[in-house]
């Protein structure tokens, strides 16, 4: 029946008692250190029906240095497995595809959406951010992030400057980021619109290898992104605030997805060959965002709207809301609703017609086609003793790709070329 750390008790009590009488602040400072650290850990599962499954472990450590500085370090490790849509259309007969590496093939059953099942990767992401309060009205932050997966490497730098006005009721933030990405695709980078070499069309392995090599270019490719963002936050009343952001993003370099293809079909809708996709090498995006957030008697609610547009003509609208209700001071529930609608990029096409001239750019990636998606989520959070918090999140996410006006010829009318993608997200977080 011994007490914990017996010998420290008298010191700990003496320190604790100081706060009772509001003096000896210098003694108390030593005890405060424990609260300088904040650690969050989470595990997340993302699963699409019959497609991608991902498990993600997230670790986040925050350390305050005095009242002025905060260091935030985050580590994310995720593991992806499963299949993703290759871009080819479903057919009435079975289809055979060459794997991106050129080694081996995979088959898709009649009527099924072709999914590339070689998708498997582990990604490690690290980011660090330093925030510093320069004066009562000026704040700044700088950060860096790096991420590495098998065929991809990304390195970014970011910084921001914040100025508050009007007794802290108005805040203006200007931030910028520069990201350098390098992609080194499995099997090499495909030549734009080259035709997929299939082993069955060749008599020998050598001939096939030579044909496959013709569809590939050596080496890796870079992409550079420059982001700028201007944000205004205004306190409207004791309970409500409003935020508006404008973001500009300029991307240049390799943006083609090296694993995506397009089916080239004849008048009957039957696939003649598969072509590797090609996307422009520059993109300029604008985004406009508005959000209002309010404190209710026993909860918090926010509503936001985002509009994005770019020179690929890919426009999107997002409506989102969170509503948190505190059942008690220790327990809350949160409802999350999100509606997203996007208009296809100008070079998106679900397939190509044989005999038509090859365009400059084309992609059948449904993610840049017409689409609506929605998310429905529930989260519960529980405060435990000692300031620890546990939360659970469960979300349902559905993507509904749509045809953006292409006439479906022949057998294509018999198949669902725009299948829904349904996913579940589950997350457990613990912060201490």
């Amino acid at each position: 029946m011994q007490l914990k750390n017996s010998s420290n008790i008298s010191t700990a009590l003496a320190i604790a008692s100081c706060s009772l009488f509001g003096h000896s602040a210098q003694v108390y400072a030593g005890d405060d250190k424990q609260d300088d650290w904040k650690v969050d850990a989470a595990i997340m599962y993302y699963g699409e029906q019959d497609r991608v499954q991902a498990v993600e472990a997230i670790g986040n450590v925050q350390k305050a240095f005095g009242d002025e500085s905060l260091l935030d370090v985050k580590l994310v490790v995720d593991s992806l497995t499963g299949a993703s849509a290759s871009g080819a259309v479903a057919q009435s007969q079975s289809q055979t595809f060459t794997r991106p590496s050129g080694d081996g093939q995979y088959e898709t059953a009649p009527g099924e959406t072709p999914l590339d099942d070689t998708f498997k990767d582990t990604r490690v992401q690290v980011s660090a951010n330093w925030a510093e309060i320069l004066s009562p009205v000026w704040k700044t932050n700088v950060g860096m992030n790096a991420s590495k997966e098998f065929d991809y490497f990304s390195l970014g730098l970011n910084g921001g400057l914040e100025r508050s006005f009007n007794k802290d009721n108005t805040t203006l933030v200007l931030s910028g980021a520069y990201t350098f990405d390098n992609v080194d695709p499995v099997g090499g980078r495909p030549v734009a619109f080259s035709s997929m070499a299939l082993r069955g069309d060749y008599d020998s392995e050598e001939e096939y290898r030579a044909a496959f090599a013709q569809t590939r270019m050596e080496g890796s490719n870079d992409k550079k992104t420059l982001d700028m963002m201007l944000s205004v936050t205004q306190v409207l009343s004791r309970r409500w605030l409003f935020q508006a952001n404008y973001g500009l993003s300029s991307v240049s370099g390799y943006m083609t997805d090296p694993y995506k293809i397009l089916s080239e079909v004849d008048d009957t809708g039957t696939t003649q060959r598969y072509l590797y996709e090609s996307r422009p090498d520059s993109r300029l995006k604008h985004s406009f965002y508005m959000m209002t957030k309010g404190a209710l008697d026993s909860g918090v609610v926010d509503f936001s709207y985002r509009y994005t547009t770019d020179d690929w003509d890919l426009n999107s609208h997002t409506l989102e809301t969170h509503y948190r209700y505190y059942f008690s001071r220790r327990f809350y529930g949160q409802l999350h609703l999100r509606y997203y609608q996007q208009q296809a990029a100008n070079f998106y096409r679900p397939f190509m017609m044989a005999g038509e001239p090859i365009p400059d750019y084309a992609s059948a990636d449904y993610r840049i086609g017409d689409m609506t998606s929605y998310t429905l989520g529930l989260k519960f959070g529980q405060r435990l003793s000692g300031g620890h918090e546990m939360s659970y999140r469960l979300e349902y996410y559905q993507q509904n790709p749509e045809n953006n006006g292409f006439d479906l010829v022949g057998q294509l009318q018999d198949h669902d070329l725009f299948p829904e993608v349904k996913a579940v997200i589950a997350q457990v977080s613990y912060s201490f």
Partner: protein, 304 residues
């Protein structure tokens, strides 16, 4: 300073001594005493008034026995959150630290258990009653920050284990702040603080510790120039049954008084709340009380 209650209690008594003045009044169910190392009678009266007001203020605010006082309102919030002031938040913070350091055995939510063990000759409570009361005792369910407090309906908080020591320290610091060169010994029923050192060329303050066997005579005289001391013990309050003596220190983990606890423990510390909490924690150690205090490297006296 927040002396809200300006009405000076009527039972103040002040007498002149060779070393200065000694004053007494009653508060918190205890005899309260100030030993003032000053010949100035009006100053001594002023100090007495401050001490009596502050003691009365704390008693009024934190006594469990005053219907409608701030503590009563917190205890009758019915599970809802209540706003609290900085002083209450600080005391709760300290109580939480004590709860943690004692591994959950010092618990200001232990009121329902304490109420069963009344020490008024009522005998030993039934095991079932104890079990029932224990359900309502759990400080980890008490949720608070600097501005509000919330705990499940049915539970209640009792600052009895801290309030008197806190009052001693508050009074001692109030006086020391205003008269930083005059040594005053504040003694509320054996809980003592003296933040300003008594001058080296004068004899130290002398404090008697009661002998639990012979309640009316001081068995040990402690000499103190500066610092604080507090006593925890079952010298006056106990139940005896079948030759076993149940003391007034209840272990919330078992629901029963601590066995083989010393009759009384006196501890010297930097201030009275620290000394008092060490004494209480030592009592909770039962037969290991002395070993525990030795480890703490504090001066102490145990009677068994």
């Amino acid at each position: 300073m927040s002396i809200q209650e300006k009405r000076v209690p009527s039972d103040l008594a002040l007498s002149h001594r060779s070393w200065g003045h000694s004053g007494s009044f009653r508060a918190m169910a205890s005899p309260c005493e100030l030993l003032i190392n000053s010949e100035d009678e009006s100053l001594a009266r002023e100090m007495m008034a401050i001490a009596a007001c502050e003691a009365a203020r704390i008693e009024k605010k934190f006594s469990r026995f005053i219907e409608g006082n701030p503590l009563w309102r917190l205890n009758h919030a019915g599970g809802k959150a209540s706003a609290i002031d900085a002083e209450t938040a600080n005391l709760l913070q300290f109580a939480r630290q004590c709860y943690r350091l004692s591994d959950g055995r010092f618990d200001i939510s232990a009121g329902p258990l304490m109420a069963l063990w009344r020490f008024d000759g009522g005998g030993i409570p039934a095991a079932a009653d104890i079990k029932q009361a224990k359900v309502l005792v759990d400080f980890s369910l008490v949720d608070f920050d600097y501005y509000q407090l919330q705990f499940p309906s049915g539970m209640c908080l009792d600052f009895g284990g801290i309030a008197k020591e806190y009052a001693v320290d508050r009074v001692a610091y109030l006086l020391a702040e205003q008269w930083p060169t005059i040594s005053v010994l504040v003694n509320f029923g054996g809980d003592i603080a003296c933040p300003v050192s008594k001058e080296a060329d004068t004899p130290p303050w002398q404090v008697g510790i009661e002998n639990p066997q012979r309640l009316d005579s001081a068995v040990a005289l402690l000499e103190i120039r500066q610092g604080a001391l507090a006593t925890s013990g079952d010298t006056r309050r106990f139940i005896e049954k079948d030759g076993q003596r149940f003391g007034h220190i209840i272990d919330p983990k078992t629901g029963y008084p601590v066995v083989k606890a010393p009759r009384s423990v006196t501890v010297l510390g930097p201030n009275c709340v620290t000394a008092g909490m060490l004494a209480t924690m030592a009592m909770l150690q039962g037969e290991h009380a002395e070993a525990f205090l030795s480890e703490q490297e504090v001066e102490f006296k145990c009677f068994r």
